[in-house]
Symmetry: C2
Subunit: 236 residues, 2 copies
């Protein structure tokens, strides 16, 4: 608690510093049920404030990169991932987000495919957590993740965002599992199937997924693009 008057004076003079952070979602099989669940990677803080606590990956904005590039680079540096979906979440700028200085964080959120997520770097200081079992994070990062989850559920209910959490080919049951994992409720398989098949961006392939102990399901492919925002183009 060394908030002496010199520090306060310094803080008042210095402009707010700008940081970029990312919330990265991927599906991984739950340890117990084996069903897909939402996970996200966090990094351990190695210095004060909040030393040793888990936090969202993030860092400063380089002078020669756009916000989106900074988020993308950041994500690659900490986890080795290249996301299929990356969008701005929100700019967080409350006065007391960090105890030592005023920080404005522009936060992005990303979706990565499970094959990629499985290869992601994990180490002493980078670890994946279930999105619904995070514990207490550094700064206001719990609130940020909550908001990202809320946005994800919202987009899921409408747009065709679920496909960015899947690989190139998938069965309709897999799509349903994504929805069930994110929205956290069961969906009627027959009605869900009817709904998805009415989406023009979903294309039948001639292939079937073999290996199950039941009738082999047809494989589909997603032909749509992410939405359209001001930068990359997206956000309803």
């Amino acid at each position: 608690m060394n908030t002496n008057s010199a520090n306060v004076a310094e803080r008042r003079l210095a402009p707010p510093s700008l940081a970029i952070s990312t919330v990265i979602f991927a599906l991984r099989p739950s340890e117990k049920s084996g069903r897909p669940t939402l996970w996200l990677p966090l990094v351990r803080r190695i210095r004060e404030p909040y030393k040793d606590m888990w936090a969202l990956p993030g860092g400063p904005l380089a002078h020669d990169e756009s916000l989106q590039d900074a988020a993308s680079r950041n994500l690659r540096e900490t986890t080795g991932l290249t996301p299929h979906y990356l969008e701005q979440l929100y700019a967080f700028g409350g006065l007391h987000r960090s105890p030592t200085q005023r920080v404005v964080s522009i936060v992005y959120w990303a979706l990565v495919q499970p094959t990629e997520a499985a290869l992601a770097d994990e180490s002493e200081n980078v670890r994946w957590f279930r999105a619904d079992r995070l514990g207490e994070l550094a700064f206001d990062h719990n609130a940020i993740v909550d908001y990202a989850l809320w946005r994800l559920r919202n987009k899921m209910a409408y747009g065709s965002i679920a496909y960015h959490l899947l690989g190139e080919f998938f069965t309709l049951a897999q799509v349903r599992e994504v929805y069930e994992a994110v929205l956290d409720r069961q969906l009627d398989p027959a009605n869900f199937r009817r709904h998805v098949k009415a989406t023009p961006e979903i294309e039948e392939t001639g292939e079937y997924l073999q290996g199950g102990k039941h009738r082999p399901p047809r494989l589909y492919r997603f032909t749509g693009t992410p939405g359209l925002g001001p930068d990359n183009r997206s956000t309803p």
Copy 2:
């Protein structure tokens, strides 16, 4: 065009500067038809770059105010308005938004009621424009306004945002006019009425609007709150 090497070196060293801007929407009667139309206030730039061009109201972020407070203050200082609705739009951080330095702008958008908007300060350097007839603005502000309009239309199609552009009491026809102005298409009065009357946040008053040359319409009141985001709470 004085981008000499000294300037470039300076720019590379300096961290990106942070600014807050606002897109302020209000309804005003169209000059020709008299029907309500979307307008927004712009300020004339009094220095380079883009000297004498029109731009969104904006300014720096003070050290002791939140992003939302900064937007709110900014809006009050340039137009004298206190909006009923204020929400973060997007953080714009492209590399070449400003020719002289790297600027990251966190942009808010606001809705004000027509009674207020009518009282808004207007001067040599502050003027209201029809949202669909802006001409060329400074920086990337045309793109920002376009995006704000897109977001407004999106929210309008779903949520109960239209009421923040109206006064405390309104007729169902007035609500429909707001939708028609923003979405730019005609709506069936009877069906629209059925839709709005199914909204629980809309409350009948015992009053009727007199003075028209036809059957006097009932007045209604909006009892809902803005949505819920991370700060103020909002954004689907």
